[in-house]
Symmetry: none
DNA sequence: AGTTTTAAGCTTCATTTATGGTTGATCCAC
DNA sequence: GTGGATCAACCATAAATGAAGCTTAAAACT
């Protein structure tokens, strides 16, 4: 699966420019102000966010803060801004940013930094093996093995497991799963998620006894993995 | 568990300076040239490496290259160097660096970047862990432990404890609890709060004798904690 | 044929309401 | 001021409720 990047940047030209540069390895969505950016990010369907600080409606610090403290989003966040003082940088890092690049910058450096972050989360397309606990997931061949036993998963079941594997030990709401796998605009009923959870659990049960997918009623699902 | 950092830097003063600054959250080992640095890194005992590029014996690019391609070391690597051209940076990232900081730099920024990298690898205590008195509350997994004993709390009980833990030694009125957990507009009767206070107290009693939730009649509740 | 989606019945359990009991502040008679 | 009556605030338990989630199978896509 390709990485999915959120670009929060009010400079339309720059935003489109960035979007264009990352097409070879990621898809992207652009938000032109803080409020929209925060809202989009909340969906939890992005693997990385590029965040400007000086934005209309809501500044980047607030967006970052809300994401990290209210939504507990764990996606890597790269701040891209003209604010170049030490104080600004420290504030960004303290709020939970992963990287901080100041304008003006070389496009190639931005790309390199994005790739470095994606590589860490195992999301860069040349990094095809996702290893979590006893699962080995081959994102290119779309195959799964659990302790050497291979697992036969169909499309959405596979996507679901990948999403869990990319977010182990974090609660994921049913809505997030839905948005990520079906897209916000989908007409499908939200309850499909339950069906796929059920199917996936059944298949996992054929290879392991322990239920790694926990249900937290009224909250979400949790892929529990002991490191 | 403390992080263990390798500093490969020929400037003794700087190396010691860095080592000193990270002592609060990590232990460190210093190598003064590339050859020694590479050798030390090969041990695979480090959680992060800070790597200079211009080094005696063997330059940093080679060290980095060997680590990543021959040893397949996966530790995060931060390049710290005077080489500030785009070409240098790209080369560093292409060889597998995770971050690249150019000299001169602010010590605080280096620390912030190191922490950001460690946080990603789960080696820096996560701030989603809420520690109050003997309680450890994991906001991501919605789990609670009291002195190592785990506590099973359902949705609203957990939310209530979190609210208290975020406001220790402060009086909270019943109305504020209600507004926070149920929302202003809720149709529910205010007395649910009492029910949940009761339930929470009962569950807390299974792990500790002392009543930390005090009632202040006609005023509110108080989560009493001796710091 | 294989995958995705909907539908339907069923189970579970968090939430809410209801009930009766306890506490403790306030008032008043003595 | 002492003792009792009163009353509202609060506690504890339990039952009711209903929404959330599970499972299966059939329908509708591809």
């Amino acid at each position: 699966m390709q990485a999915n990047i959120l670009i929060v940047e009010d400079d339309t030209i720059l935003a489109n420019d960035i979007a264009e540069m990352i097409t070879p390895f990621a898809s992207s969505t652009i938000a032109h102000d803080g409020e929209n950016g925060e809202l989009l990010g909340k969906n939890g369907i992005f693997d990385l966010a590029i965040l400007d600080l000086m934005l209309p409606q809501e500044n980047g610090y607030d967006v970052l803060g809300h994401w990290r403290t209210e939504q507990h989003l764990e996606l890597p966040i790269l701040i891209l801004t003209a604010k170049d003082t030490l104080t600004d940088k420290l504030r960004g890092f303290n709020l939970g940013a992963d990287d901080y690049l100041t304008k003006p910058f070389h496009r190639e450096e931005l790309i390199a930094r994005i790739k470095a972050l994606l590589k860490r989360s195992g999301l860069l397309s040349d990094e095809t093996l996702l290893q979590v606990a006893d699962f080995t997931i081959d994102l290119n061949r779309r195959t799964v093995t659990y302790k050497k036993q291979s697992l036969q998963l169909n499309g959405k079941e596979f996507d679901l497991l990948v999403y869990f594997a990319q977010n182990p030990n974090v609660i994921i709401t049913k809505e997030r799963i839905f948005d990520r796998l079906w897209g916000f605009e989908s007409e499908t009923a939200l309850t499909v998620v339950e069906v796929y959870i059920s199917n996936l659990r059944k298949k996992l049960k054929t290879v392991t006894a322990d239920q790694s997918i926990k249900t937290l009623r009224n909250v979400g699902y949790l892929f529990e993995v002991n490191k």
